[in-house]
């Protein structure tokens, strides 16, 4: 019993140690009381080419739905490149629905895995030749599950469907945990950012990537404007 108790304690202890370390690190880097908020607007600029479905003839049973509205991704990077570790591998999802990838633009952290469920009644294919992550899930139907894809490198991944060439999605794989997606007007809000010096990045629908240096002050809201 005693032995069991001892063992149990050891296990608890061993489990507690990293958790406490993590907690301490989190306290050191961005404790709530030292955190600030970044708010701002991204000027989208003219979107060069929103997917124009009318350019080719499709033979789909259901009508093609419009793609998600144009939004931009905003994230913060640190000069030292040190970012809080991921407590749990996040699982993201890019669905194919209404003959569109949804969301059309998404940011994930490095190491996240993404599934691509097909919600349409027809085949879709999912592939990317991006250097960040080259993968090809081939064609699959609604009732076929596709394996999750793990994105272990930071960068841009452009995803296409071979069958419907208007379908495209952009995955932004980031080291940074501080990212968000704007609304369609370009407004964004990043709360609970540890005070310090950052660079704020935007990824616009037209592939522009404007940047701007930023200082986050504890307890304050920093206003940022991005894009031309």
């Amino acid at each position: 019993m005693r032995v069991r108790t001892m063992r149990f304690r050891f296990v608890i202890w061993m489990l507690m140690l990293p958790a406490s370390m993590l907690f301490m690190f989190a306290q050191a880097v961005g404790a709530d009381q030292d955190a600030g908020t970044v708010e701002g607007t991204v000027r989208m600029g003219t979107s060069t080419s929103p997917p124009a479905v009318a350019q080719y003839r499709t033979r789909t049973r259901a009508p093609i739905q419009p793609a998600d509205g144009a939004r931009a991704i905003v994230w913060l990077s640190r000069k030292d490149g040190l970012y809080p570790a991921i407590s749990k591998l996040p699982q993201a999802q890019v669905t194919q629905s209404g003959y569109q990838f949804r969301p059309g633009m998404m940011a994930i952290r490095v190491g996240s895995s993404v599934t691509f469920p097909n919600q349409d009644d027809e085949f879709h294919s999912v592939f990317s030749y991006s250097l960040t992550k080259r993968f090809d899930l081939g064609r699959f139907r609604k009732d076929e599950t596709s394996p999750p894809v793990v994105f272990d490198k930071a960068g841009v991944v452009k995803i296409y469907c071979e069958i419907h060439r208007h379908m495209r999605s952009i995955l932004l794989v980031l080291e940074s945990p501080w990212f968000t997606i704007t609304d369609e007007a370009g407004h964004f809000r990043l709360p609970a950012i540890p005070a310090g010096d950052y660079v704020v990045h935007g990824y616009l629908p037209n592939d522009d990537q404007p940047t701007s240096p930023l200082k986050v002050v504890a307890g304050a809201t920093t206003q940022v404007g991005l894009g031309n």
Binding site: T48, S49, P51, A52, Q55, Y56, F127, S128, Y129, S130, L131, R134, K158, Y160, C161, E162, R165, H166
Partner: protein, 563 residues
């Protein structure tokens, strides 16, 4: 100019004009027909080739277009995936290309990896640069651009290639271009140029002529004409003395690539030979026609000239007084009519001449002339006339023992000789009565010295008679009586038969003087003696007591000149 020559010239002119016109028209017609056929052949040939090209273009363009819209290729090109060429080759699926290359969005050729299936790995940058320029230009037009290029094959012979350039883009974002080349066959018609289809064709790429159908010489000549107008106009080029027709068709109209042409050529040599042959034939026909026409002209002119010549001869004969000549019937109707008409005329003339000669025989020529010309008044007039009577002394003795033919011959000989003398002295023989001759001087026409001439005539008659008498076996002696005075002259007789004569007492006196005259004597009356002038000496005779004259009439013997 003779009729035959004129006819010959006329016919030859007509033949010449007809032949030349025929030749001109035939050659012109031939040329037009040939040009039409050539145009048709050009059109057929080019249509066949261009249609096949179009078909291949369309197939290749479809292939290129499919590739241009391939999401995989777009994605791979966008990311410059190392497997780009592999993906492209996979996407092309069929191997219907000689080579293909991918260009980035700036038109730079992406070098294929060594193990790629893009074909012709040895192609140099220099070869590909013009393609990239056209592809970049074509990218802005957003459709498949078609061009042609030549590449040396293994034996360094230029082989033509069709090049298709297409922009690879997706919804407005251009990521690069695809350039694809296919080998182009230079077989323009399955059987090649034949007699029925003599069109030779060539491709013109970058001002270079590529063909197996056109020989070097023609190619050289065409090379100099390459900047001639395109399409729809047939141009002429001279090759080694003979002409050729050619036409250009643009193979890639409206392309960003430099234009390439299909060139169709037809040699006119065989046509020219045909034309020359035709010319010779027509010339030969013309020659034969000329010969025939010449013969015809000769025949026709003979047909005309012979009767004309005969007519001329006949006319001349008639002028010479030969009225008996008749023209033979002629073969032509008109000439026959003319001959008949002439013959009728000749017959009429002959009849008239006969009348004339009969008239002259039965009357004195002067009287006959006077009667014909109307100078002699038939109604009668008073004229001062010297009448001569001359008859033979001893006629009865002369005629005894002779047959009538001999008598007539003798008389005729005598009368003829005497008549000639009378007529030489412009005397008019009025009648022959038996052995007597009656002649008039001063009727129907006076010459002023009628009596003197009458006397001279009488003396001449005696002299002539003497001269003849020396020659002939039977000498004839005559006595002559002359009397002058006013007497009635005119035609006396029935309605349709009369004689020109004179009537009066002096006529009877002359007859009496004649009968009184001895052989070789000329007796004249007083009137005659008064009028004959001093040239003729005379001696009075015893006055004659004559029947019908109240007083004896003085008579004189004209002394014959002493020869």
């Amino acid at each position: 100019m003779a009729f035959s020559v004129r006819l010959l010239l006329a016919i030859l002119t007509v033949v010449l004009i007809t032949t030349s016109a025929t030749l001109l028209i035939a050659q012109r017609q031939n040329r037009l027909t040939y040009r039409a056929v050539v145009d048709e052949l050009f059109t057929l040939q080019s249509t066949a080739f261009l249609r096949e090209q179009e078909f291949r273009h369309a197939a290749a363009a479809a292939q290129a277009a499919r590739l241009a819209t391939s999401v995989r290729l777009f994605a791979a090109l966008e990311e410059r995936d190392p497997d780009l060429y592999k993906i492209a080759a996979d996407e092309l699926r069929t191997g219907d290309y000689a080579f293909f290359r991918l260009l980035d969005r700036d038109g730079v050729v992406l070098q294929p990896p060594e193990d790629s299936r893009s074909g012709m790995p040895e192609l140099s940058e220099a070869t590909l640069t013009p393609l990239s320029a056209a592809a970049t230009a074509g990218a802005q037009r957003n459709d498949v651009q078609i061009g042609f290029m030549t590449l040396g094959d293994h034996e360094q012979k230029l082989a033509p290639y069709r090049v298709l350039a297409v922009s690879i883009n997706s919804f407005g974002s251009h990521v690069g271009s695809l350039v694809m080349a296919q080998s182009v066959g230079t077989t323009f018609s399955p059987a090649g140029p034949t007699r029925a289809n003599p069109v030779r064709s060539a491709l013109v790429i970058d001002s270079r002529l590529i063909s197996e159908e056109i020989d070097a010489e023609t190619a050289q000549a065409l090379q100099e004409q390459l900047d001639l107008p395109e399409d729809d106009s047939t141009a002429v080029v001279a090759v080694a003395g003979s002409t050729s027709l050619f036409r250009k068709y643009v193979l890639n109209k409206g392309s960003a690539f430099p234009p390439a042409y299909l060139l169709s050529v037809i040699s006119m040599a065989s046509f020219d030979a045909d034309q020359r042959d035709l010319a010779w034939r027509i010339a030969l026909i013309g020659l034969v026609a000329s010969l025939l026409a010449g013969l015809l002209a000769l025949f026709l002119s003979r047909l005309l000239a012979e009767p004309v010549a005969r007519l001329v001869t006949a006319t001349r004969a008639i002028r010479a007084g030969d009225f008996a000549l008749r023209l033979p019937p002629s073969s032509t109707r008109e000439m026959n009519t003319l001959a008949e008409s002439f013959n009728e005329m000749a017959a009429g003339l002959e009849l008239k001449e006969r009348y004339h000669s009969v008239l002259q025989q039965v009357t004195d020529p002067q009287v006959a002339e006077g009667l014909i010309s109307g100078q002699v008044k038939l109604g009668g007039e008073l004229r001062d006339v010297t009448v001569m009577f001359c008859d033979i002394r001893g006629y009865t003795a002369l005629s005894v023992g002779r047959n009538p033919e001999e008598i007539i011959e003798l008389l005729n000989h005598h009368m003829g000789a005497m008549t000639r003398i009378v007529q030489a002295h412009r005397g008019v023989i009025n009648q022959f009565a038996g052995d007597a001759i009656m002649a008039l001087f001063g009727a129907p026409k006076t010459y002023g010295d009628d009596a003197e001439r009458a006397v001279r005539c009488a003396l001449a008659m005696l002299q002539e008679r003497d001269r003849i008498n020396v020659e002939v076996a039977e000498p004839i002696r005559v006595g002559i009586g002359l009397a002058s005075g006013v007497m009635v002259a005119g035609c006396i007789g029935a309605e349709n038969r009369n004689d020109y004569t004179v009537v009066g007492e002096r006529v009877n006196l002359a007859a009496r003087l004649c009968s009184m005259a001895k052989a070789g004597e000329v007796l004249v009356d007083d009137n005659t003696r008064d009028r004959m002038g001093p040239a003729f000496p005379s001696e009075p005779m015893a006055p004659l007591t004559l029947k019908g004259f109240a007083q004896p009439m003085p008579a004189f013997l004209v002394r014959r000149a002493m020869a």
